[in-house]
């Protein structure tokens, strides 16, 4: 698999971390892990590196040399601009979800979150007393009329041209107005030192993944904007084992299923399955579409749904 790694993705993979791995073999997380094991005897020589799939690995310092790093303000600049001509959308097929929570795990891994911090959260839903319960993965809706960016006092959360709503935790003042404003409860706050903050403290801040996370700032789902830049699907989408997620560019009228890799017409998928958006009455114009839980692939096996759980 090392041979398959193109030069381009090799650079992409490492450039945000300010180092280039000199040794030819040390490219993927696999070989990084191997190198880490080999050099484990001299811990003072080790440095922490983050792989593209969100794993932290240790590598022998001798195998690293500094390179032309993507400086912070360059990352910030392109992160704020977004990808021109794109209009990202997600489609979540509720009939396929069986609460496997692989999406939540992959997301927490990618964005350096604790187990109780959710950029995406699989909820057990029941719309009213006599309607059927279902599982609903709930990422940030990346609204086109976002209530959160409206209220931000410092442009720390903003919408870019490709539709993604990002957070700049180098700017955020921690007022949490956006958390109060979001009707989807999509935002979290770093109340204490983020997970593994010691390990990650030397990483250059990447606004498109919002890592490393910072104490006293807000975080939320970013559609894995850093992966999109490399034409990769968001972490949650590609980690789902059940074909729940489709993701793509609305301008191309196509979305790709993260499990099967099948690409379909976005408009047809929505039309044929009566796709809808959450709480349309609020006028937030979400970019996350849901397909109703009809013809389910799995029986609902959630906990007993009680009143308290639902509200």
């Amino acid at each position: 698999m090392t041979q398959k790694t193109s030069d381009k993705s090799r650079r992409n993979f490492l450039k945000s971390f300010g180092v280039t791995v000199g040794a030819a073999g040390v490219v993927s997380s696999f070989s990084l892990l191997g190198a880490a094991k080999a050099a484990a005897k001299e811990p003072e020589e080790m440095v922490n590196l983050l792989t593209a799939d969100g794993q932290l690995v240790q590598v022998d310092k001798n195998q690293l040399r500094p390179t032309v790093t993507e400086p912070l303000n360059e990352l910030q600049k392109r992160g704020r601009e977004g990808i021109a001509g794109k209009s990202f959308v997600m489609v979540i097929d509720l009939s396929k979800c069986r609460n496997a929570r692989k999406c939540m795990d992959a997301c927490q891994n990618h964005h350096q979150l604790r187990a109780d911090q959710h950029h995406i959260n699989v909820l057990q839903m029941q719309d009213s007393e006599h309607t059927a319960p279902y599982f609903m993965p709930k990422p940030c809706q990346h609204c086109d009329n976002p209530p959160c960016t409206k209220v931000c006092p410092v442009d720390a959360t903003f919408k870019r041209q490709d539709g993604i709503v990002l957070i700049d935790n180098e700017r955020c003042i921690g007022c949490r107005f956006c958390i109060a404003a979001c009707p989807y409860s999509a935002r979290i706050f770093q109340w204490t030192e983020p997970k593994d903050s010691e390990k990650y403290k030397d990483l250059t801040y990447n606004i498109e993944a919002n890592v490393p996370q910072k104490k006293g700032t807000v975080s939320k789902c970013l559609f894995s904007a850093d992966r999109l830049r490399e034409d990769k699907l968001p972490s949650c989408v590609s980690s789902c084992p059940n074909g729940v997620y489709y993701f793509g560019d609305r301008n191309e009228d196509a979305v790709t299923n993260g499990t099967t890799g099948v690409t379909v017409r976005f408009s047809k998928l929505i039309e044929e399955n009566a796709g809808y958006t959450l709480m349309k009455e609020l006028g937030t114009k979400p970019r996350v579409y849901y397909l109703p839980p009809k013809d389910r692939a799995f029986k609902f096996n959630g906990d007993l749904l009680n009143e308290e759980n639902l509200h």
């Binding site: 041209q161 191309e252 017409r265």
Partner: protein, 304 residues
Amino acid sequence: MKNTFNILATIILVLSLSATVCAEGWDVPASVKKKQNPYELTKRNISSGKKIFQTTCKSCHGDPGKGNMLPLQPPPTDLGSQNFLVQTDGEIFHKIRTGKGAMPTFEKTLSDESKWMVIAYLRSLDKMKREAVVTKAVVNPEVTDVKIDIDVDSEHKKLIAELTGLKKDGKRVGLEGIELSFLVKRAFGQLDISGEEAYTNEKGQLIVQFPTDLPGDREGQANLLVKITDEDNYGPIEEKRVVSIAVPTNPKNILSERAMWGTRANAPIWIIATYVLGVIGIWGVIFLILFQLFQLSKMRVKSK
């Protein structure tokens, strides 16, 4: 590489998850067990089943015989193994239809025909029953240098592909009855526009209607890839082409308009004006009063 990453990630995740599904026996009714695949194992049916398998089953079960299934607990069965294939058609059909635990039900999501196609494909891998494979398909002559030529009918947005090969006598002939895939590149994958029966005719030709409403770039261009669907036929044969028959799209930049949700630079004019004028107005008066305040002591001098 992507697959390996996924698998690696999943291994780690799964370790921490307790098994939610138990591999108990399936209750297959005797009547269902006896069922036979009503479709013959033609090349076409097998190929159609393989296509369904790859989009529907492969993500968990992996490729038959390769053992690259998802590391779930219990692990998904290798559908190419003899252990699995000893079952009757009816048993397999029942399992696809009902599902169990982590195995989804395909009762509604796959038609009965599609289910049988998948079974046809799986059966074609069965070492015990291989001889049963009926090859009714047209027999093409032995050829080398197989290639695909693409012709574009821009007026009707039609794509004409011609699959030809070089016979031993040096004559180029069309290859009949071969399934082709017409794929349009999208951001994260290939959109299949081939349609239902995408098999070449006796001249080796296949005409495919390009979707009239499919967006392309600003000039209406799109990247087209035509390939032989099943590599088992002649190996990985494909042809790429940029076609200009897609709908030209000029995506509107959502940031081009001032909006309440926009950044400060994109704030609506009226709100900037209200704020600035309000601040200037109120603070103007405040400064005026401060100015007057210092005149108070001057008045004392005058009054003296």
